[in-house]
């Protein structure tokens, strides 16, 4: 599989979500992400576990680990940032890594209140990965994510834990234009000898098929308005929420042709049966990977040269080709960089340390509310 399948992007069909929604199998959605996207994956997975059947976590620490060490600073926000950096991502020794056992205890206490009941996790399938050369989120932290889920009752046999690949901080593809495997550099897409997105989806959906050769994609990548799906009663409120959530104006969704063909056949009165149920997978990019991420040079956005990676995470990481073969819809929500004093998120990371507010991890968190509405819009 050496060629990268090409995919064109089209503007949103206003009816797209309505065509997809009735076909989607409820409760069979899944989510995966890298780095800040992995931390957000865990948060979203815990908050809405009843809507998911599994998750893929590449270099992500356990739930709420940024709130573990309140004494790190006098103000809660400062303590969260320090804890996120130096305990959640970069613990000097394993004994100061975030404790999966303690965080599982805290998650159990919240079960059924501002997060879904923990019981939903029991039969879910997980893929958890940490490269041996990762210098951004260290292995000792990711190991605690595995322990965290184990403590919450996830069956060990349903967890694929991969910690022996000499990879840096990245999602792994087979694309020759990606960075060398062991590097820790933007765009955090490295070349290895397997396609990680395929492994994630195969782990979560064991009944799915892995693509064996590069084939042209049948479907299209559609651009949708995240602004329209933000919480809020008015356009102005939704706009404020979009800015406060540090999210981009657009997100993307890949829809295989089979899903739209099914809709067309059904609307003409023909009976058309899918071989597999239509399922949704949500992909959370990492820091510096959103479509409109702009590098900051000496504190100023380098607008002359942006965007450096554009939609590379969306088009080249292999999710779409897997989805094409397996009747899956892939949603790519997008975060953007904001660093205006009020919100400190220059790299366009997902919020796992509280830049949107103290409650950044429950169903009430701004980003989680937005992601939940996006998922719901497409039927998941």
């Amino acid at each position: 599989m050496s060629a990268v399948p090409t995919v064109s992007i089209t503007s949103t069909d206003a009816m797209l979500a309505e065509k997809i929604r009735p076909q989607v199998a409820k409760g069979h959605s899944s989510i995966s992400g890298l780095s800040s996207g992995a931390f957000m994956t865990v948060q979203m997975h815990l908050a809405h576990s009843s809507r998911f059947c599994g998750a893929g976590i590449i270099a992500g620490g356990p739930y709420r680990c940024a709130a573990m060490y309140r004494r790190a600073a006098a103000l809660r926000g400062d303590a969260n940032i320090l804890t996120a950096y130096f305990i959640g991502m970069n613990p000097l020794i394993p004994s100061v890594a975030p404790s999966g056992i303690e965080l599982a205890k805290q998650a159990r206490e919240r079960s059924g209140t501002d997060i879904d009941p923990i019981g939903h996790l029991k039969d879910q399938r997980l893929y958890i990965f940490s490269g041996t050369q990762d210098k951004v989120v260290y292995q000792s932290s990711v190991e605690q994510t595995k322990l965290f889920y184990h403590e919450l009752g996830v069956n060990d046999r349903h967890v694929k834990w991969v910690s022996d690949v000499a990879a840096g901080h990245a999602i792994i593809t087979r694309n020759p234009e990606d960075s060398p495997l062991s590097t820790n550099q933007p765009p955090y897409i490295n070349q290895g000898d397997f396609i990680q997105s395929h492994d994630i989806l195969k782990t979560i959906y064991p009944d799915s098929q892995s693509p064996t050769h590069a084939a042209p994609l049948t479907g299209l990548l559609h651009r949708f308005s995240q602004l329209a799906l933000m919480p809020g009663d008015s356009e102005a409120e939704r706009y404020d929420n979009l800015k406060n959530a540090s999210m981009s104006e657009f997100g993307y969704v890949y829809v295989p042709a089979s899903v739209l063909d099914h809709y067309a056949a059904a609307s003409e009165g023909h009976h058309h049966q899918h071989n597999q149920p239509v399922r949704i997978h949500m992909v959370m990019h990492g820091c510096k990977q959103g479509y409109n991420y702009t590098p900051v040079i000496n504190g100023r956005p380098d607008t002359d040269n942006y965007p450096p990676y554009g939609n590379r995470y969306i088009t080249t990481t292999g999710y779409n080709e897997y989805a094409d073969l397996n009747n899956m819809i892939v949603i790519y929500p997008q975060a953007e960089g904001v660093d205006d004093g009020k919100i400190q998120n220059p790299d366009g990371c997902w919020d796992w340390w509280g830049y949107t507010g103290d409650d950044f991890y429950s169903k009430n968190a701004l980003q989680i509310r937005a992601l939940s509405r996006i998922l719901e819009n497409f039927g998941g």
Binding site: I93, S95, E249, Y306
Partner: protein, 153 residues
């Protein structure tokens, strides 16, 4: 909807902003001092605890030292590689044929040296924060363990 939409500061904000910078510098410095003091106090508490597990503490201290040396080595390697890259580029710039290109090249070299110095300073500051936060957290965990031992008698 990116950085270009960033709000523009009004004149009053501009006039008072040096005070804001002073204040934020002061806050960061205070936090460092406070955390250092807290860490010293907690070190004393942990060392005076009746339930001192010397083996565990010794192992963790050795691991801390090793991790710090590893991070310092990484910093050093990044510095040497950065200098090497600048040297290589400096050598490549000998074929300049216009004044414009000459200025451009020299400014590039100066800019790259500044960027390297900036990344080194940020790296060392980050390591200091890292050590302080992790050591403080480690002490906190030790103190919690000691409390639990005392409760059990």
């Amino acid at each position: 909807m990116t950085h270009s939409n960033k709000r523009k500061a009004d004149l009053l904000t501009l006039v008072y902003s040096p005070f804001g910078h002073l204040n934020s510098g002061q806050k960061s410095f205070n936090r460092m001092l406070l955390n250092s003091w807290q860490n010293q106090m907690q070190t004393g508490e942990v060392l005076c605890s009746r339930h001192l597990n010397l083996k565990e503490i010794g192992d963790d201290m050795v691991a801390f030292q090793k991790a710090i040396v590893d991070r310092m080595t990484e910093q050093q390697v990044a510095l040497l590689e950065g200098i090497k890259d600048i040297q290589d580029e400096y050598c490549e710039y000998q074929e300049t044929n216009t004044l414009t290109k000459l200025m451009d090249n020299n400014c590039n070299i100066a800019g790259q040296m500044m960027a390297l110095a900036q990344s080194q300073m940020t790296g060392w500051a980050q390591l200091l924060d890292n050590i302080q936060v992790d050591y403080g957290y480690w002490l906190y965990l030790q103190a919690e363990k000691a409390k639990q031992c005392e409760c059990k008698g």
